[in-house]
Each structure stands twice: as structure tokens, then as C-alpha cells.
Amino acid sequence: TGLAQKVSINVKNVSIVQVLEQIQSQTSYNFLYNSKDLINTKPVSLSVKDMSLTEALDRCFKNQPVNYYIENTTVLIESKRVEAVAERELRKVIKGKITDEKGEALPGVSVKIKGSATGTVSANDGSFTISVDNTDAILVFTFIGFEPLERKVGSASIMSIVLKPVTTGLSEVIVVGYGTQKKVDVTGSIASVSEEAIKSVPASNLISALQSQAPGLDIQKAGGNSHPGATPSIAIRGKRSLDAGASSDVLYVVDGIPYNSTYINDLNQDDVTSVQILKDASATAIYGSRGANGVILITTRRGKTGAPVITYSGYGGASTALGHYDVMDVKAYETYKKWGNYNANNPNTIGAPNRYSGIDDPKFYTDGITFLPAELAGMENGTATDWQKLIFKNGLKTNHQLSVSGGTPTTKYAVSAGYYNEGGLFPGLSFKRYSFKVSVDQELGKYVKVGVSSLNTISKIYGEDINPVVQALISSPLTVPYDDKGNLIPFPGGGSLTYNPLANLVPGAVVQRRSRYNTFTTLYAEAQILPHLKYRFNGGLELTPETFGEFYGSATFKNLSGPSTGKNKNYDYYDYTLENLLTYENTFSKKHHVTATGLFSFQEDYKANTEFSYNNILADDIQYFNPALGANLSGKGDYKKFDIVSFMGRINYDYMSKYLLTLTMRSDGSSTLAPGNKYHLFPSVALGWNIAQEDFMKNISFLSNLKLRAGYGSVGNAAVSPYQTLGGLELLNYNYGTTNVTGTYPNNVPNPQLGWEYTSTLNLGLDFGLLNDRITGSVDVYKQNTSDLILPQNLPITTGYTKQFLANVGKTQNKGLELSISSTNIVAASRKDFGWTTNFNITFNRNKIVALQNGVTEDVGNNRFVGKPINSLYNYVRLGIWQNTAADSALARDLKLTMTGAASVIGTIKVADLNGDGVINSNDRTIVGSRDPKFLGGFTNRFSYYGFDLNVVSTYRVGGTQIAYWLQPGSKVNALNGKENNLNINYWTPDNHENTYPKPNFNVQSPAYGDLLGYYNASYLKIKTINLGYSLPPAIVNKIGVKSLHVYSSFNDAIILFSKLHDRFPGIDPESAGTLGVDTPPTKSLLFGLNVTF
């Protein structure tokens, strides 16, 4: 296209430089020359109109002592004399400049002469100088993130090199298990998340940053927990294993070595350069049983050849509660309490016999029951305490990361240090992470390469259980937190069960400190034994000693003014992996490309911990530092060790990158299973067809890529706690007078049959690229059948075992469809242009139980139903509230429900007599919903204009019923007993025929069927992050001596749309894996950040 550009020039006897300037202004071409080469040029006269560039140049350079060459958009001009010199001299010096497509200089690019060890690296302004032996020499330019380029020297002495960034294009190399593969050759279902995408979300941990960035990935706050340092829940392609059965933990592999998922928060996402999510059996088979729930491969930054690159990135800002829970104010609370007591006496109708004449009976203020003395005093004083206002504060968030990387062709290094600090919404609550990472790669001669990488983290979580929310919500607004002297009143109600919510926030009242020292060190040694055969040793060790100390003073709501309590916990954990890998790679007849990989791996995981608790510590200042200063010391310990031995073989074959085949076999042995069932062999096969490479596709120009993938394989899961098969005894202490004894009783039934859980997955995928890859995407459909499910099973209580045990029973199925599309909607050719890209992904997953043990179709005790999702909700069907109407009374009487006195059903939750047998009992329960969404996903839009960039990251979830615990009476926040403060809901009274919330009743601890109140529609759309940034122009940046400088601000987690729950309770975030607890309230944050590269 470029050469088609036309120029119009009309000059007489001007210098060639002037002509070139005119051409430059009319075209997108640049000219590169040495001024001295042009000294001898003759003046030019030229009169052309709409002439092609080359023609114009030809005329311009006719009979001149210089030649020109066009390379991309650069016109190189050099003296003709040079050729002669080049022929005389053997050595020749080449100068050049390397830029990216936007013309920005690329430092640190490796420049090598092909076939020799000679090489150099581009300087900060992208320039390089290298001398070559002859004109046939080929220069190889390589730079991570860019496509390698080879250039023959020829007659050139000046080179303008433009490197193209690696796009989703076919030549992209991605990390797969135990190796890398060209994307074009990949047969499995793998989703990638780029460094840019991770960085666009300033989350506290990597997993939060991955939310909604890839299809098939379901990441949610666990139980709605927004606590600093809380780890979100993650699932890849739905749930296969069931809760508390075999673990459904995703396998994290960091730099090739498994990383303990418990500590994923210890990983500083600023060190991560790419994330790959392996989803189908063909992709995960290589990890065998460990990969049963999907694998997330995490690659951290390694050094690159070149001058040191120093980067600083940081942000800071504040987080605040998304909003407050809507609880009753003084007036509503007063009325509510009166109803509670009124209903406890006789609730049916106004005028029925009752201790109270009605809701306005003055007796309520003197009966000693309805209001506490402190509340009566509060009424007189006009007290109206907003307890939530008292407990919430703003949390501060800061993150700093400084890194240096660089290297020579043989030694590369990357060093980084990070600091992250997130304060919580209550005093005493924080998560701090100090990280230090170093990696070195060293080539030892031609054939051997070694490398080591060490990630070191100190994580400190303070106040992990500080959560006064429930206390604050149920505290009486008629009471005050402090007495006249400013002292905290332990029970503001004067002896009620509600302890002062501020008590735990008093400095020193609650001390909880968790410190973990996580060292994750991996090393490898790679040797090219034969031209096509490589041996590699991988070793990885994760050491995570951890200590936890806890102190609760007397005046806390744990101890309710009783003796203080202390606790210490020490963890001694390690996990190591040793692997021996042989890789054979060769191409036969230039068409048949084969890679064969063999592996032997051994992994051991060890966890031991001890715990001490005690009370009545002599002085509060001691906190948890000396158990000997407390009383009633008791201790316990836990020891768990498991080992996995694996053998694996894999063959990748491709025919001209057109037809692809992957065969994998892995044999795993797991110590956790019963003898005789420990070993199993898991095969998988996958095929790929790059349709776009076929001749018949060459003419379809809008299709730049089209690949069909099919994979089938089986993986196993044995991720159960050790010793499950042996059965177990529980300890139970007792005393005979002053003789203390430790008893044991059986509580865990042995299961000598426990074996592998198998999942076979069929995956069909289609990758496509349209309009020269401006639009790329993938579609995957899959079916996973899981059999011999390791299920936690309840036994009839009459067996004596109330604790669940693990057994292989039942089958589940997951079917799904995943789609991801990336589109460059508007291409920005340069910094000044407007650019817009969109990433979109959507995931559908349908899950059901296919079979249960012994042909059982309903296992109510374990909430499992054949043909229904694992996450089914089984309960009564709520119809509304029993009204004081003739029709309802007649119906209630027919159902033999109590109609008189405090236990009258009128005004309580009405459920359906589903089977119509005239009585409401457990047989009337049915499946009332499922926690699974219909579909979920995310989309990200990025806009750029004049150095400004705007990223909007959104996540959505549609369908599914979730449970909000705080709407259920059991949470105490919606207890509806008229004793403590309550959510400000519209409850039933004899003259308010409210149909959702039952009457408050002082004499009913928890309303019948009250758990049905917690169900909510879990759909939402959340704008997770709006990130607005500005990159300083290169010219300015260069002046101040840095390579790039980017400032931004981001607004996070604030906008939640299409959630009825959020609309009704604006302080609530509907996002929750599992029941939404009354936990640390969700937060929104506003952050300001800076990224600089030197």
C-alpha cells in the first residue's frame, strides 16, 4: 500500500534534501541518511504530479552519487562509493535503528549474526552498531514480545529495523504444560490473559485480576468476603467434584512448578507476565490428576538481553464501604419491638385476647420486656445511634513495585521488589505483602542452560476475623456506645446479648496477626544431549512457614467480658517437586514435525501445625506471646503428608502446521487412595486442523485464521486429604472428678475402597481470525463426564457416624460453550489517532448429577438429585404470608396448623403443601432453584487517543439463585424476633398484609421457613474497573530521561447494575461463590497510579 502513495513536486535547482523533505511531508515515509553522503549530490529540478513514490525517487536520484532503498516505510540513502569500499574491506560496520511500528525506539533488542555467537544489543535510543564479515551475513533481531526478524546485510550499511509485536497471530508462542508451543500448533483448549489485561485491574491478588478476563473461568469472592487478603474462589468450567469431596482446587503452575493454591495471594501479580488457562483434557492431561480441575500456568518475568531496564509502578488510594445495610431507625425499631412482644402474646387479629390492648398500649414501656432500661433512657434522651457510621472507616490501598531486568546474551537477570498494603474498613484490619523476586538464566557453553528463580514473600494479615458488622446491625439505635465518662459500655443495652460493636475495635482489644514467609524457588538445568534431544531437570521447593497469634481481651464480643483468650498457631509446610524431562524434536522431510516428551515426576506435600489456646492471660499487654502467662492451656496438632509419583509421555505431531496431533499418557500414583487403587493411567488424544492453511482457503482473504480442534481425554482426581481411607477417631476430653482423661470415639468411618475420580472430556474448538486478525476469537464446546465421584457422604446417624466420609459414588456431567472475541474496532495507526479494542467472553456451563450411589435418585440428606445441578437448592416453596383472611384461616385449619396463641401461623411464612396430602412436612420440599448461573463472562473495552487510554473492565453473571445469609433469620440480622435491631424490611402486621416478611415474634427465635428469605436472583453486571490513563509523549519523556511514563486513575467495584438485591440494599455486592455472608462489607476504591520505565 505504501508504495502506491503519490507525490506532487514542482522544484527547480534545489538541494536533494529539500526534495526529500517535501516527499516526507506528503507521504508516510521517513528518510534515513548520513548528511555527508549527500554533500556531493547535485541540485534537483523536478515537476511531477501524482507520481508514484518510487518513480519520483528514481527521477530524483538519477545520476546522483547515492542509491536509495526502501525498507518498510523508511527510505535509506547511502553513497554509491560504499559498495566499492565494501568489496575492498572484509569487515563492514552496520549501523541502524530499531523501532516498533509506531516509530518508538526499542532498546534492548538482541542483534546477532546468524550462525555465530557475535551479537549486540540495541541502545536506549534503539540504535545499534555491529560489524560483519561479509555481505552474505544475516542479522537476527529478537526481542520478547516481538516477532523475530532476519535481515541479510547485502550492500546496506545503514538499516532501519521495524519489529512487529507478537499479536494473536499464528507465530505466537505460548506456554503449555512442560514446554512451549506455537499457537498455531496447539490442539487443546487454552485461554491466555496478557500482562496488560492483568495490569488494567488493580486488584489485591492475581486471581481477582483474572476475573472475567477469560472464558470458562468463574472467579467470585468466596462467600462474598471482601476482607483484605481474602482469596477469591475459582472454578474452571464448572464444578466436577463436589464440595468437601475431592478438592476442586485449580492447579497453579508457576514457572513450571506447582504452586500451592492456598498461597496464591502471596504471588505479586506485578511479577507476572502471562497467564494461560488450560481447560480441556488434552491441555491438562500432561498434569494428570493434579490438573483435574484445570490448570493455570503463570509465567513470571525473566531477564532479557540488553541494557538494564528499570521500571517503577505504583498506585495509592482509598477504599470505602459500598454502602450501609438498611436497618431500622429509632422510630421503626420502636414499633418493631412492640409488634414483637404483641405477637408473642396473641397475634391473630386486633381485638383478640392479648396482654396488650394494641400497638399503642403504654404497657410496652413498663413491662420490662419490650424495651431494655437503657432503651427507655435512650428514648428520653433522644438517642439515635447509627452504629454502622461508628464502625466503618476508609481503607487505604498502596502498591509499589520496582524492578530491574537485563542481561547479556548468555546471562539474563530480573530482580524486583514489591510492597502492597491494603487497609480494611475497620481499624486493625490490613493485608500487607512484601515481595522480592530474583531470577537468573545462564548459558553454560553451547549446550547447557541453567536458571533459577526465587519468589519470596512476606504476607501479613492483621485482624482477619474482625467483623463487627452483625453486632452493629443488631445493636439498638436507642443505646449509646460510651458512658458519660467516655468509657465503652460493654453491653449498651444493659445486659442484653448484644455486645458493643466497637469493643473489638478498641486498640489492643483484639489482636490477630498472621505472618507467612513464602519462598518459592524453582530451578532448571537443560542440556542439549543430541541435536534433537534435550534433557531438562526441573526442581521446585515451596516453603511456607507461618505463624498466627490471636488475643481477645475480656471486653470483646468473643469473651463478653469473661476471661481474655489467646491462641497461637504455627505451621510448618513444604512442598517440593522433582522432574526429569526428555524432549525430542525433529522435522522430517521438512513437513513432518514431531516433538516427543517424556517425564518422571515426584511430588511431596507436607503440612504440620500445632496450636495452643488458653485464657485469662495475666496482663492484656502480653497478648499471645507467652501462653505460660495464661490458664487452661490446651493444644492440638495436625500432620498431613502426601506423595504423587507420575510418569508421562506426550507426542506432538504436525504436518506442515496443517494437521496436528497430540497424544498424552500419564500414570499417576497417589498416596491418599486406598491400597490397590493408588495407580491409574490417564490417556488423551487431540487433533487439530489449520483450515486456513489449506490451498482452497487462500482466496478467502477476510479469513486470516481458521483452526478446528478436537480433543478427548481422561484425567483423574485424587485430591483428598491424606488418611481418609483409614478411618479416624475423634478426641473427647472428660474428667472423673479431678482425674482428667482424653477419650477417643470413632467419627470417621474407614473406607478401604476409595479410588480415583475420573473425568473424561470431549472438547471441540474453533479458532478464527478475520480481517487480517483484527477480529480473533475462539469457540469451544465441551462435555465432561465425571464418574466414580469422590463424594462426601452422610451416613444415617444410627450408624454412629455423623461426620461425612469420602466414597466413590455417582456421576456428574458438565456441558458447556465458551466464546471469546477480541476485536480492534478502530485501529490507531499512531499515538494521535483514536483507537478502540474490545475483548468479550461468555461462558455457558450446564451441570447435572447423572447418577448417585446404589441407583439412588434422591439423596436429600446430602442435597443431591439425579438429573439436577450439583448446586441445587432443595426446600419448601414459599407462597407468601398466612394472612388473617377467612380463606387463609380455612386453609391453615385444613392443614392442621396452629391458629391460636403465640405460635399461630397467621402472619408467618406460608409454604405450599406441594404433594397435596393435607399436611405440610418434609415431603413438600422440592428443587426451588440452582446456584449456577445461566451464563457468565466479561468484557473489556480499551480506548486510546493522543496518549490517553481508557479501560473499562466489566463482569457479568446472569441467572441462578444465590443465598444471602444476612437475609436469613439465622444471621441474627433479619431474625424477626422483635428483640434486636433488624434489617429495615416491611413485615407483616394484622393490618399490613405484607406478603414477604413474617410478623416479628418475641417468642420465636427464628421464624419457620425463614431460610427461604435469603434466596435472591444472582444476576448482575459489574463495572469492575474504569481506568483512565495518560502516557506522556515520547518527546517529552525522552527529555526527562525516562523511556515511558504512564499515569492513571482507576475507579473500582463501584458500579453494579441489574441486581435487584443491590438495588434494594445498595451496600451489597451480589457477587459470591456460595452463600453471601454478613462479612466485611464490599468496598469500592479510587486509586491513582504511575508507571515509569527508565
Partner: protein, 528 residues
């Protein structure tokens, strides 16, 4: 391969029961399991309210207390007893079955420990059969996953219990207060008392044997006749029976142990909470160690207060069972008239005489004077038997052992058996033994003594209320004697309207029914 063999180090497996230590610790846990029952809100709620003696207080859920339609198989209290019984029955079975395999122990010791396990097993089954009727009868240790269960006829369950108790009496030390028997340990005396109660209970049931009343009488009498040699006896003062720290007296046959060493007191005794009224919400009073933590789960009925304890003078037990005076313990909360406190710290803040007083007198009294007609859900006499002033914190559960079987009840069991045998003379004799003690020290013994013509089953039940009020046996007593519905309708107006025939048994916990997934469905009790 070697790496794949598991060796647990922080946990024990069932094989441990075959060792001398394991055998012993299994038995210790079988004792400890009783803490999940006696001292827990489950058993308290299943035995105390919803009877003629007690009704709902202001705390907790009244469903079960008043037999409302929402009291069903999903009730949270009922499974606590069910679960504990079956958990520790299997534990007892483990001990008993492994008795033959255990090594390193003197056979005599093995024999005694098996006898102890049998006593405990019988006791657990006796709870089950009385609350639920036909129940699953596991006679051997279960160490494999079984997903089916059946209910055995009550006759089988009773036979099994009686055999266990006979074996226990044979192998146990005779007396809890002799030969260094540790507190809380099973003894032949306790087993005899229990056996008498089992015979007596079966005697009224559909599984009755013709000699059940006689056996009950003879067993109870046998124990009473031997109290001299056993070192047992009624204490002279009723007040000292439940005095703090006196749980090992000569009147106590068996108790569930607790200790102030919290490490060994893991499953709490919360009986000190449930009977305490909400005094702290009234003038002059704040929560205190002495007056307890006011859960106010249950309160006495008017029948208990007015009719059963009509004589509060000669029968000293009313004021020894129920608190009548609360002394002001908070100067801040003393009401003021024209700025002057109505009374001083340490003066009476609340007085509940237990008898009626006029409104004029109430209004003229500077403290809160509360006759029975003014009792509310929060304001009623606290039952004192489980008060604990030695607990660790003001809101902490009790560290006192729970008295389960005591000699006074043996007398009343003998009396009840005698009445049913038509032997009113002996019935009166045993009742009078208890009543005479009740007069001590201030009552008139002669006024307390009854003659055989006054004795009836109802009288025995009334006497049990006076002696054993709140001791977690009433509901079972009323069911045993087929008097539950009659007396609840008569004496407990809240519950009387709702009680039905089905309420003679408790619902099988829904979790049990739901978890039986092979074989026949586990039957629910009729009506639930």
C-alpha cells in the same frame, strides 16, 4: 512405591481400640458423650417445658414447648439427643466388641470396663426408646459405611437394655462412694436405679411384661435396703442436694462430670442459663455471677407454683428450688424519687413471694413485688438447682457436674411401682422418706407425712414435681405414666390447646430419614 504408603501421625484409627490405651480411651469418650446430652439445651428442651411443671420463658423458641404445628422433624433440639446417643452407642459397641481382642490388660479390668460400657449403652438406648419408640438397635460395632437402617420393636430394645444392665450390675463396683470409685463412674447402684426405672417404664408400655412392676419395685427396694452398706443415703437437708460443690454426695448415684479445667470441659453444661429470668432488665439490677446469665428459656407453670407447691411452709423445697429475692447490685439502676434512691445497694430489688399479694401492697412497696399472677416471659422465679457462681466468666457455662440419678428418685420409683402393684402402704413409706427430709429444718414433719389412702399415681407425680422439679425428667415421667396429654391440658394452658396423641413420641430427625438411602425408607413417627 514406598512413598505412597500412608502413616498418619496426628490422628488415630479404629485399630487403636484394640490396644490397652485405646480400649480405655474409648470408654472415656463413652462417658464424655453424656455431656452432649445432660447439660445441653436439646435434652433440657425435650424434658422440661411443655409439661405441667414448666412452660416457655421469654428466650428461645416456643414451638416445641407449646406443641405448635411448626414443631416437626426439622426441629434443632431433637437431633442433638438422637445424634449423641447413636454416636456413643457405637463407641460403647467398639469398647465391648474389642474387649475380647484387647491385649495388655488384666481380664478383671477388661470385664469391669465392659460392664461400664454396657451401663452407658443401656442408658443411651433407654433415652432413645422413650423419646422415639421403636429405634434402630445396633448391638455391634460399625466400622464400615452402611446406608440403610431399620427400627426395631421396642420389646427388643427393652430386652437389650435390661440384659446390658444385668451384665453391668454383675461387673461394676457396688457403690459410687466406696472403694475409691472415681466420681462419675458407673456403679452397680446406679445401674440398679436405672434398671428399676427401665422395668417401671416398660411396665406401662406396649412391650410390658407381667412382672415389670414387681421387678421395678424389687430392684429399687433392693438398692434402698442396701444403702447402709453402700454408704448411700438421703442428705438431711434438701438444700444441700444441689449445693454447689456437693455433686458427689452420698445421695448421688450417677452424675455427668464437669471441671473448672476448661481444657477438659470442652462440651459445656449450659443448664445454668436456661432457668434464669431476665432480672437485669429491671431496676436496681445488673447481670451478676450470683444471679446468672438470663436465657429465660423456661419458667414454672402456675400449677407448679400455686397448686403443686400449695404448702410452701412445711415443704421447704419451694424456696430451695426457686429464687424469691434479688438484692440490688447496681446503684446506678436504683430508681430515684425526687433524686433520692428508693432503696440502697444490697436492699431487695425484686421479691417474688410465690403467693398472691394485693395491688395496693405492690404499689406501696418500694421494690418490685411480683406475685405469681404478674409473672411474665421475663419476670418469674429462677430455678436454682443449676446456678453456678464458680464458672470462669459471667457469661460462661457451668463447671458443675450434672446430677442424673439420685437416691431420692429411687424412693419415688419404688413408690410408683408400689402404687401400681396396689401396695399403697409401701408407696406411702417411700414417699414419706422423701417428704420428711423436705420438711427439714423449718417445716413440720408430721404435716408432711402422708397416709397410704392419699397415695395415687397422680400423687406420686405431684411428689416427683416437688422433689425433682426441673431435673430433666418430667416429660419422660408424664409419657411413662400415660399422663402427658391429660396433665398438660390441665396445667399448661399455652401447650394444652395444641397437644395431640402424636406428641407422645418425638419426631425422628429429618436428617436420619434423609440419609437412609438404601433398603426400606426409614419410618417417621405417626403424625409428623
Amino acid at each position: 512405591k514406598k512413598q505412597l504408603i500412608e502413616q498418619p501421625r496426628s490422628g488415630l484409627t479404629p485399630q487403636y481400640f484394640q490396644t490397652a490405651q485405646g480400649f480405655q480411651s474409648g470408654l472415656d469418650a463413652a462417658y464424655a458423650g453424656n455431656r452432649d446430652i445432660w447439660g445441653n439445651e436439646g435434652l433440657m428442651t425435650m424434658t422440661t417445658p411443655g409439661t405441667d411443671e414448666f412452660k416457655s420463658g421469654g428466650g428461645g423458641n416456643s414451638d416445641m414447648n407449646i406443641y405448635s404445628s411448626s414443631f416437626d422433624a426439622n426441629n434443632t433440639f431433637v437431633p442433638r439427643v438422637w445424634n449423641a446417643c447413636y454416636t456413643y452407642i457405637n463407641d460403647c459397641n467398639g469398647v465391648i466388641d474389642n474387649g475380647a481382642l484387647v491385649t495388655g490388660l488384666d481380664p478383671a479390668i477388661v470385664k469391669q470396663k465392659i460392664a461400664e460400657a454396657k451401663f452407658l449403652r443401656a442408658n443411651y438406648y433407654f433415652l432413645l426408646v422413650r423419646f422415639w419408640g421403636p429405634v434402630t438397635l445396633n448391638t455391634h460395632f460399625i466400622a464400615e459405611p452402611i446406608t440403610s437402617a431399620e427400627r426395631a420393636p421396642i420389646a427388643d430394645v427393652y430386652n437389650f437394655i435390661i440384659q446390658d444392665l444385668k451384665d453391668a450390675i454383675d461387673g461394676l463396683p457396688p457403690s459410687p462412694v466406696k472403694n475409691g470409685v472415681l466420681p462419675g463412674k458407673a456403679t452397680a447402684a446406679a445401674a440398679s436405679h436405672l434398671l428399676a426405672k427401665v422395668y417401671l417404664t416398660r411396665a406401662y408400655s406396649s412391650a410390658k411384661q407381667s412382672d415389670d412392676f414387681l421387678n421395678a419395685y424389687n430392684t429399687a427396694k433392693g438398692l434402698i435396703d442396701n444403702i447402709g452398706t453402700l454408704g448411700l443415703g438421703l442428705l438431711p437437708d434438701f438444700a444441700s442436694v444441689y449445693a454447689e460443690g456437693n455433686e458427689g454426695s452420698k445421695e448421688i448415684l450417677w452424675s455427668v462430670q464437669h471441671t473448672s479445667n476448661l481444657t477438659y470441659n470442652n462440651n459445656s453444661n449450659e443448664l445454668n442459663f436456661y432457668y434464669v429470668m431476665g432480672y437485669e432488665n429491671f431496676p436496681g439490677l445488673v447481670r451478676s455471677m450470683a444471679y446468672g446469665r438470663p436465657y429465660a428459656r423456661v419458667q414454672l407453670t402456675r400449677w407448679m407454683s400455686d397448686t403443686c407447691f400449695a404448702d410452701k411452709t412445711n415443704d421447704t423445697r419451694y424456696y430451695k428450688t426457686f429464687q424469691s429475692v434479688w438484692l440490688s447490685n447496681s446503684a446506678d439502676k436504683i430508681p430515684k424519687v425526687n433524686g433520692v434512691p428508693k432503696y440502697a445497694l444490697g436492699d431487695t430489688a425484686i421479691y417474688m413471694p410465690g403467693v398472691d399479694v394485693s395491688d395496693t401492697k405492690i404499689n406501696a412497696t418500694r421494690y418490685l413485688l411480683v406475685p405469681p399472677r404478674n409473672y411474665t416471659l421475663q419476670l418469674f422465679p429462677t430455678m436454682l438447682k443449676y446456678q453456678d457462681t464458680r464458672r470462669a466468666g459471667i457469661n460462661d457455662p457451668s463447671v458443675r457436674p450434672v446430677i442424673v440419678y439420685r437416691l431420692a428418685e429411687t424412693y419415688l420409683l419404688a413408690a410408683e411401682a408400689a402404687v401400681n402393684l396396689g401396695d399403697n402402704a409401701n408407696a406411702a413409706k417411700y414417699i414419706n422418706a422423701v417428704r420428711e427430709r423436705a420438711a427439714n429444718p423449718t417445716g413440720n414433719v408430721a404435716a408432711m407425712t402422708i397416709t397410704p389412702d392419699k397415695v395415687s399415681l397422680d400423687y406420686v407425680l405431684d411428689e416427683r414435681s416437688r422433689e425433682l422439679a426441673g431435673e430433666q425428667t418430667r416429660w419422660l415421667d408424664l409419657v411413662r405414666t400415660n399422663k402427658l396429654i391429660e396433665r398438660v391440658k390441665k396445667h399448661n394452658p399455652d401447650a394444652g390447646a395444641n397437644i395431640q396423641e402424636k406428641h407422645l413420641l418425638r419426631p425422628i430427625p429429618q436428617t436420619q430419614i434423609d440419609r437412609v438411602i438404601s433398603g426400606p425408607k426409614y419410618p417417621q413417627n405417626t403424625g409428623y
